[in-house]
Each structure stands twice: as C-alpha cells, then as structure tokens.
C-alpha cells in the first residue's frame, strides 16, 4: 500500500465508524482467518462473518454451486456451525489478528434473534456491529422470508437493539420491491445502516439430465452479472435518505467500488470477487486510495451519492 493510504478513507454509517469503506460480505469470507494467510485482513474496514444461527445448520443438499454468465448461483442454505462455534473458535483468533468484525446473525423469528442477541451480549465489545440476516424462510408466514415482511423487519431489529449496545445493520434482499418501506421499518426498529443487496433469486437446469443444477432447485445469484441491478437498488434507496447503505452485489474491482459509492453507498461489500481475486480486499482498498490521489479527492465521503443526475 502506498504511504498515503489511510488518509481520508474513513467513513461513518450512523455511529459505525470504519477506517475505510471496504467490508467483506457475509458468507464469502468466513471470519477472515483463511484470507489472513494471503494478506493482512486487519487492514480492511470490516469483515462481516458468515451468518451464524443459534444452533448449527446443515445447509442445503448439494450441488450447491453453479456458474452462470458472469455470475455465481449458490444454494448453500446458510450452513453454519452455530453461534457458539463462532464465539469459541473464531472470535479468539480474529481478536488476536486485529480484525474489525461485523457479526452476521440469522434467525427464524424475533425470539431466535433475541436468544442470539443474549448470547452475543457477552462478546459485544469485540464486535463493531451485528448484521441481521433476515433471509430465513418463515414457516408460519407461508415460507416467505422474514426480511420481506415490514413488521418483522421492525420487530426483529427492535428485539436485537433492546439487548445489544452495538450498532445493528439490516441486510435487505433485492427480491423485494418495497425496499424503502423495509429500510424505514429497520430504522424504526433502531438499525443504523442497511446492507444491500443480498443475492437475486435464480435457477439453472442441466439440459442433459433435465435436473436443476442446484440440489435446492432455486438459488441466489451473485457476481458481476448483478452489478447494474445492485447499483440501481442502491441509487433508489439512497435518494430516500433513510439510512446509510453498505452497497454490494457484483463488485469486482476498485472502479466498481467507486461506482457504488457514487450511487450512494457509504461503504462497499465484497462477496463473490473473493473467490476470483483472493486479494480483492487489499487490491480494492489500494485502488480506492490511488484513485483518490489521482482525482484529488481528500475524503472518500465526498463522493458518496455524488452521481450527477442532471
């Protein structure tokens, strides 16, 4: 990294202060330990962990992955070892390595989130924030996800907020059209930022076997293919000025990161790119810094939402 890196890179999302806007997306970076072999992960603005639930989840039936044009379809099914595993196994290591951690948590309803928050309370000093993954299908409501029900978004956020003293981020799915409403309800519940976008519903079929390419039939699309969709969603939500946004969805280099910030993202999330460019976090951070140098941008916050629409 050149000596100027770090200057003017800090951003604030509500009370969340980041030394730079580069965040790792949930589920694509685990807790960062593996990547620390490749570069110093503590340089990142934050690492969002894989989403952890109260008890371990086995995830979906394989195959779980399929490449599509400029995209990746996955149906991991939120496999994870459970929150205790994070607390006991990952947390000591990431603390020692100095990572800034956003803990992503996943529950089926407000009660489960309450239990999760209670467990987290004892480690909250080690976390920058929690991110609520509301993409669990809610059985009582006919299988639609928590995150698409405005009331649930508010209830769950409020439930977690009541227990924890650290900021709460709510992650929204692009499969909803009422993002402004959902974000407002997250805000009512006490969220300080929105993560946008999660994956887009997609599917692929093997024409030789006639079988879906994913064991779960339906999956979530990520990667460069979805970038224009993400930019539009972020731009539209930013205009509403509800909450600061962590923008993600198809970012593959520093240019994309700048594009997302111009659209209105206060920080950017890197997902699928971590599988393609293992050094993406470092490379994109450096790229942003040198772009600022070349364009004489003193504070990266100066470009947030600054797309010139007239």
């Amino acid at each position: 990294m050149n000596s100027n890196t770090g200057k003017g890179l800090s951003v604030k999302l509500g009370t969340i202060e980041l030394k730079n806007p580069v965040i790792m997306c949930s589920g694509t970076f685990s807790s960062g330990i593996e990547y620390n072999d490749l570069y110093d992960v503590s340089m990142l603005g934050a690492v969002t962990t894989k989403s952890f639930s109260l008890v371990p989840r086995e995830g979906n039936k394989p195959p779980r992955l399929c490449e599509t044009p400029a995209g990746l379809l996955n149906s991991i099914g939120l496999e994870n070892e459970g929150i205790d595993f994070f607390i006991n196994e990952h947390l000591p290591v990431v603390k020692r390595s100095g990572f800034t951690i956003i803990l992503s948590i996943l529950g089926a309803d407000a009660a489960e989130f309450t239990n999760l928050a209670t467990k987290i309370r004892k480690i909250e000093d080690d976390l920058l924030a929690v991110e609520l993954n509301l993409s669990c299908p809610n059985v009582e409501k006919g299988g639609i996800t928590l995150g698409s029900i405005p009331d649930e978004v508010e209830n769950v956020t409020a439930a977690v907020r009541k227990i924890l003293n650290i900021p709460v981020i709510v992650k929204l799915s692009p499969n909803n059209n009422n993002l402004a409403e959902l974000a407002s309800r997250a805000k009512n519940g006490g969220a300080e930022a929105i993560s946008l976008i999660n994956t887009i519903i997609g599917m692929a079929i093997d024409i030789n076997t006639f079988k879906p390419k994913l064991g779960n039939i339906i999956g979530g699309l990520s990667g460069p293919a979805i970038k224009p969709v993400a930019v539009a969603k972020i731009y539209n939500l930013y205009k509403e000025k509800i909450l600061p946004i962590i923008g993600m969805g198809g970012i593959s280099d520093w240019k994309d990161a700048i594009e997302f910030m111009l659209a209105g993202a206060s920080a950017i999330g890197l997902g699928t790119v971590n599988f393609v460019d293992y050094n993406a976090g470092k490379n994109i951070l450096e790229g942003i810094a040198s772009y600022m140098g070349s364009k004489n941008i003193l504070n990266i916050t100066d470009i947030i939402g600054k797309v010139k629409v007239r």
Binding site: S30, E34, G59, R64, L65, E79, G223, S252, T272, F275
Partner: protein, 265 residues
Amino acid sequence: MKLIKGEIISNKKIGEGLYKMTIFSPYIIKHSLPGQFVNIKCSSESTIDPLLRRPFSIHDIEPDFKVFSILYVLKGTGTKYLSKLSSGDIADFIGPLGNGITLQENENNNFLLIGGGIGVAPLFFLAKTLSAAGKNVFFAAGFKDNNFLLFEKMLQGLKISYEIYSENGTHGKKGMITDLVIERADDFKKYDIYCCGPINMYKVLQNIFSLKSIKAKALFEEIMACGIGVCKGCVMKFKNGKDGYIYKTICKDGPLFDLMEAIFE
C-alpha cells in the same frame, strides 16, 4: 497456500482433448502433498468469462526444475482457455489446496493406486512419491480407449508395477479397471489403497471393498467456488455416527476421504 503467478514452461497436447501443462513454482514444489490441488484462473486479465477459477490436481512435481504439472481434459470454457496458453504465458493460481496424502513412518509397504480416466492425474504424483520412499506400488488404471497411451509412457518412467484396462480394448486389457479389482480383491487386502476416478467407479469399489472388508481412501470432486473452505459450496455427504450423515467440504476437509464413508445419492 499462496497466490502465485507462475510461468508456464510447456503446455502439450498428449491425447485427444488431453493436455499436460508444466508450471514453474518453487513454492508448490516445496509445499505440496499428493492429492492436493491448485485453483487456476481460466480467463485473461481483462475478461470475466469464465468467472470462477478451476481446480486441478497436482499431477507431478519435478524438484530439480522447480516445476509442477497438471494433466487436464477439455471440458468447457475454462479448460479451453487453458489449452490455448503456451510457454512463457503466466498461470495465475492458488495452492497447494486441500488435505492431500501424508505418509506415516510405520505404514504399510504395499500400495495400490486405482485410477479411472483423468483420475490418474493426482495418483501419478502419489506413485512417484511412494516409489521415491521405497514403497511397492501397484498402479491399476482404467480408461475408455487408448487416449492415455502417453500416460503409460510416464508410468514406465517410475519404478512401479502397473496394469492398464480399457473399455474398448485398445489399451491394455479389455474391460473395466473394477474387473481387475474384483478378480484380485483378496490379494489387495494387504495394500494401502488410494483411488481417484468417477463416481460410478467409486460405487462399484465401495461394494467390492465392503464385501471384503477392505479399507480405501479416495479423492473426490465437487464444483467449487472459493477452493479454500470459506463458502461451504463444495460439500458431499459422508457417514456420521450410526445412521447419520454430515456435509464435508471437498476443498478443505478433502479432497481425500475414506471411500467407505462416502454417501452417494
């Protein structure tokens, strides 16, 4: 593991749609175990198609020249891209990945390696390593036809014994490699067994070995994204407890597993 840009030393067609690529990398030479693999970027710097890297087993290492090789078959866009590269081009890969095969001190002296099709690729590295350690190696390889004739040439360069079967009889004996295993199953009890090949071969081997109470290890494949255990995408079912199962990642928990533990659906 390390992210490496290694110079390609050669990239030769050695059969129909079958290639051997040799890459300079002191790091891989130093740190690899047989069974481990590398995850290679299969598109030029300026394009994103294909998006994901592709996993290939380490097929051979030549410490004197600080090079390792992969043996690969043409499948789709990624392998097509690889096949177009030539000496002097740069391969962008991460490795070595996966658990790989470590040889304990007191282990058996007799090793049986069973390879089906391109599955022979990683077993070659294992055979070379074993034979260098003074073990007795018997390599049983099965192919469709005679497309792997040049692979036999490579085997001849090792101090091991081998037998080749081909389905259409154009290379070695006519038949499936599993025919050989059925025939000599009792013999093979005294061997440490490592297999690599298609799922159908594994199903047959599981049957034979379970009847005879023979133990064996096998290298598995699944479609991968990260290759380093973070995405949980490349899982397969393995036995867990009496009737249970557990998903394990091929890229990190594997690719080497106890063949008898695998659950095929």
